[in-house]
C-alpha cells in the first residue's frame, strides 16, 4: 500500500498566501464603514458558496438563496432581539438556525426537485417572491415594513466582537471553513455525482446516481449556507428588513458567483467581495455605477463565461507554457499515467 501523502499544488499555496495577506492587510488599513461593507461581502460569500454547490457543481440555476437567507436572518432576529419576551444565546441560535433551515431546505428541495431545468428555476423565483411578500407584510414574525432592530451581537465563549474589525476576523474564519467544506464537497462523491448530473442527467442516472436525492442534498447544503449567512448578517447589522431579500438581491448573488468563476472556490470569494466593494471604490462615479456594472456583466459573459477564475487559469497556463516550454503539464501527466 502506498502511504498517503498530502499534496500541495502551487496554485493552492498561492491561494492560501493571498488569503493570509488579505486577512492580515485589509483590517490594518480599513476601519469603520468600509470595514462594514467588506464584512457584508464576506457574509454574501457564504451564501454564494451555497450557490456554487447548486449552480457550479449541480448546474441548477436557483434563486432560492435569498429566501433561505431570510429564514436565517429572521430566526436570529426573533430569538435574539427579545421581541417575544425571551432571549436565546447567540451560539444556540446559530445551531437552531442551521437545524431548522436544513430541515426546511430539505423539505422545500423535495418539493421543488419534482421539477427540472427551467421549471425548477421558476419555482425558486416563486419561492423568493412568496417569502419576500411575507417578510414584507407579516408583522408578528417579520416586523413588517419596519424590520426588526436590536438584535444581539454574536457571542462566542463569552467574547463579543467589539467593532467591525474584530467581526472581520470572525467572518473570515467562518468563510475559510465554508470554503474548505465546499472544496471538500467538490472532491467528494457527492460533488462528482453533482457534476455528472450537470453534464448529463440521463447518463448520470444510468451510472447509478440517485439524481433526485443528490439534487435535494445539494439544495439543502445551499439552503443551510444561505441561512448561516442570513443569521450572521442579522447579528452583524443588528437589524433586519425585507429589502435584503428581494429578487434583485437574488440576481446579484448569481452575478457574484459568475464573476468569480462558478466552479472555483477561491473565485467565488473574490467575486463576492468585488461585487460588494465595487460601489465603495467607484464612489465618485455613483451615477454611472449600475450602468458600468450591467455592461460589465454582459462583457464578462461574452469574454469569460467562467469568470475571473477561468481568466487567471488561462493566464497561468500561458505563463507556464512560456516559462517551461519543454515540459508542458499535459505531457507530464500522461507520462505519470503511463507509468502507473
Amino acid at each position: 500500500m502506498k502511504k498517503r501523502k498530502i499534496q500541495l499544488k502551487t496554485s493552492t499555496c498561492l491561494v492560501f498566501l493571498a488569503a493570509a495577506i488579505f486577512v492580515a492587510v485589509v483590517p490594518a488599513v480599513n476601519e469603520g464603514y468600509s470595514m462594514m461593507v467588506l464584512n457584508l461581502g464576506l457574509i454574501y460569500a457564504i451564501a454564494t458558496y451555497g450557490l456554487s454547490v447548486m449552480l457550479g457543481l449541480g448546474g441548477q440555476l436557483s434563486f432560492a438563496a435569498v429566501a433561505f437567507m431570510g429564514v436565517g436572518a429572521y430566526l436570529t432576529a426573533n430569538l435574539c432581539s427579545g421581541r417575544h419576551g425571551f432571549w436565546v444565546g447567540t451560539s444556540l441560535t446559530l445551531l437552531i438556525t442551521l437545524l431548522v433551515s436544513a430541515a426546511l431546505a430539505y423539505f422545500v428541495g423535495l418539493i421543488l426537485f419534482r421539477l427540472s431545468g427551467t421549471y425548477f428555476t421558476f419555482a425558486t423565483i416563486g419561492l423568493v417572491q412568496v417569502a419576500w411578500s411575507f417578510y414584507l407584510s407579516y408583522k408578528p414574525l417579520f416586523g413588517g415594513p419596519d424590520g426588526i432592530s436590536n438584535i444581539a451581537s454574536l457571542r462566542i465563549f463569552g467574547w463579543t466582537p467589539a467593532n467591525y474589525n474584530e467581526w472581520f476576523f470572525v467572518l473570515a474564519g467562518i468563510v475559510l471553513v465554508v470554503a474548505l467544506l465546499v472544496e471538500r464537497i467538490r472532491r467528494s462523491q457527492l460533488g462528482r455525482s453533482l457534476s455528472a448530473i450537470r453534464d448529463n442527467e440521463i447518463a448520470a442516472q444510468t451510472l447509478g446516481i440517485h439524481v433526485y436525492k443528490t439534487k435535494v442534498i445539494a439544495f439543502t447544503i445551499a439552503g443551510v449556507l444561505a441561512a448561516l449567512a442570513g443569521a450572521l448578517y442579522a447579528m452583524h447589522s443588528q437589524f433586519v428588513s425585507s429589502d435584503m431579500f428581494t429578487f434583485e438581491r437574488a440576481t446579484s448573488y448569481i452575478i457574484m458567483a459568475m464573476l468569480g468563476g462558478v466552479n472555483n472556490t477561491a473565485g467565488i470569494f473574490v467575486g463576492s467581495v468585488l461585487v460588494t466593494m465595487l460601489p465603495e471604490w467607484l464612489r465618485g462615479m455613483q451615477k454611472y455605477l449600475q450602468l458600468i456594472y450591467g455592461i460589465g456583466v454582459i462583457l464578462l459573459m461574452i469574454f469569460m463565461p467562467m469568470g475571473l477564475a477561468g481568466l487567471t487559469s488561462n493566464i497561468g497556463k500561458s505563463i507556464k507554457r512560456k516559462l517551461f516550454p519543454k515540459a508542458p503539464q499535459a505531457d507530464k501527466r500522461a507520462k505519470e499515467d503511463a507509468k502507473a
Partner: protein, 298 residues
C-alpha cells in the same frame, strides 16, 4: 363581494393579464428563436413606457405621429438589444452565461432610463380623457365604473395578439421565422437569412413589451420599477406551458385575474398569492396547463 365589484375586478384583471400576455408572448418567441429566457423583458416594457412618455409628454406628439416614430425607435432598440446581448453569445458553451447576460442587460436598460429621464416617477395622460375635467375617462354602466384605459388595454392586447398569430400562421415571413427558430442550420441551408429572422423576432418582442408599457403607463406611473412586472409574465409563461404561445396568453390572463381578485381579500399578500398559484400549478402539472413535454433548451 357584489356583482359590480366582481365585474370591475374581472376587467381590471383581464387588462393586466393582457399586459403580462404581451410580455409572455415575447418571452416565448425568444425561447423558440434562441432558446433563452430573457430576464430583461420587464425592463424592455419599462423602457418602452419611458420612450412613449417622452414622445407624448415632452414632444407632445399626436397619436398618428406617435405610432410610426415609436415603432422605429422600438425597432432600433430591438436590433441593438440583439446585437449586444445575444449575438456575441450565440455560440456560448455555457447556457447560463446567456441568461446572466440578459440580467446584465436589464440593469443597463434601467440605468439608461434613469440617466436620460431621471429617477422620479413621471405621470402620463390617459389615452381617453374626460373633456371637462381632463382626468381619465370613466366608463359607467349599471353602476359599474371602469377606467377606459383598462378597456383600451384589452382591445390593444387582442389586436396585437391577433397580428402576431396572423404573422406566424398565415404569412410566408412568419413561416420563415418559425423555420429558423426550430432548426437554424436547416433553415440556413434552405437559404433563410436567420440573422434577419432573429432580428425581426427581437423587434417584435421589444414592440410587444413596449406597447404594454405604453398602455399601463397612465395606470401606474412611469418609473424604473416597472421592470418587476416581468416576474408575472414569467409566471404566466410557466403556467401556460413552456414554448406554447396560446398557453402563455391564457396563463398570463389567469395571473392577472388571480392578482386582481386577491386584492380584495389579501391585498398585502398579492405577490404571494400569485406565486403560490404558480408553485401549485408547477407541482400538480409541471408541464403547465396547456404544455406538452418540450425539450428544455435553456
Amino acid at each position: 363581494m357584489n356583482l359590480n365589484t366582481m365585474i370591475s375586478l374581472t376587467i381590471n384583471g383581464f387588462a393586466m393579464g393582457m399586459i403580462y400576455a404581451l410580455m409572455a408572448m415575447g418571452l416565448i418567441l425568444l425561447i423558440r428563436a434562441i432558446g433563452v429566457m430573457n430576464f430583461a423583458q420587464g425592463d424592455l416594457l419599462m423602457f418602452g413606457a419611458f420612450i412613449t412618455c417622452a414622445l407624448t409628454v415632452d414632444l407632445k406628439l399626436p397619436l398618428w405621429a406617435l405610432i410610426p416614430i415609436a415603432l422605429v425607435i422600438f425597432s432600433v432598440v430591438g436590433v441593438v438589444f440583439m446585437f449586444t446581448v445575444y449575438w456575441p453569445l450565440r455560440n456560448a458553451t455555457y447556457p447560463t452565461a446567456t441568461v446572466i447576460s440578459t440580467m446584465g442587460a436589464a440593469m443597463v436598460l434601467k440605468e439608461i432610463a434613469t440617466l436620460i429621464w431621471g429617477s422620479l416617477p413621471r405621470s402620463m395622460p390617459p389615452l381617453m380623457k374626460n373633456p371637462t375635467t381632463g382626468k381619465a375617462a370613466i366608463l359607467k354602466f349599471n353602476g359599474v365604473t371602469l377606467q377606459w384605459q383598462f378597456v383600451l388595454t384589452i382591445l390593444v392586447g387582442i389586436v396585437l395578439i391577433t397580428l402576431v398569430f396572423i404573422l406566424f400562421e398565415k404569412l410566408y415571413a412568419g413561416r420563415m421565422m418559425q423555420a429558423a427558430a426550430q432548426d437554424k442550420y436547416a433553415a440556413e441551408l434552405l437559404g433563410i437569412p436567420t440573422i434577419l429572422t432573429t432580428a425581426a423576432t427581437y423587434i417584435i418582442v421589444v414592440t410587444l413589451a413596449s406597447v404594454g408599457g405604453y398602455m399601463i403607463a397612465p395606470i401606474f406611473m412611469v418609473s424604473n420599477t416597472l421592470g418587476s412586472l416581468q416576474l408575472r409574465a414569467f409566471a404566466g409563461v410557466v403556467i401556460g406551458g413552456f414554448g406554447n404561445i396560446k398557453g402563455a396568453i391564457l396563463g398570463s390572463i389567469l395571473i392577472g385575474l388571480v392578482e386582481s381578485y386577491s386584492t380584495v381579500q389579501f391585498s398585502q399578500y398579492k405577490d404571494a398569492v400569485v406565486f403560490l398559484v404558480l408553485i401549485a400549478v408547477l407541482l400538480i402539472r409541471p408541464q403547465g396547463l396547456f404544455g406538452e413535454k418540450v425539450a428544455d433548451k435553456a
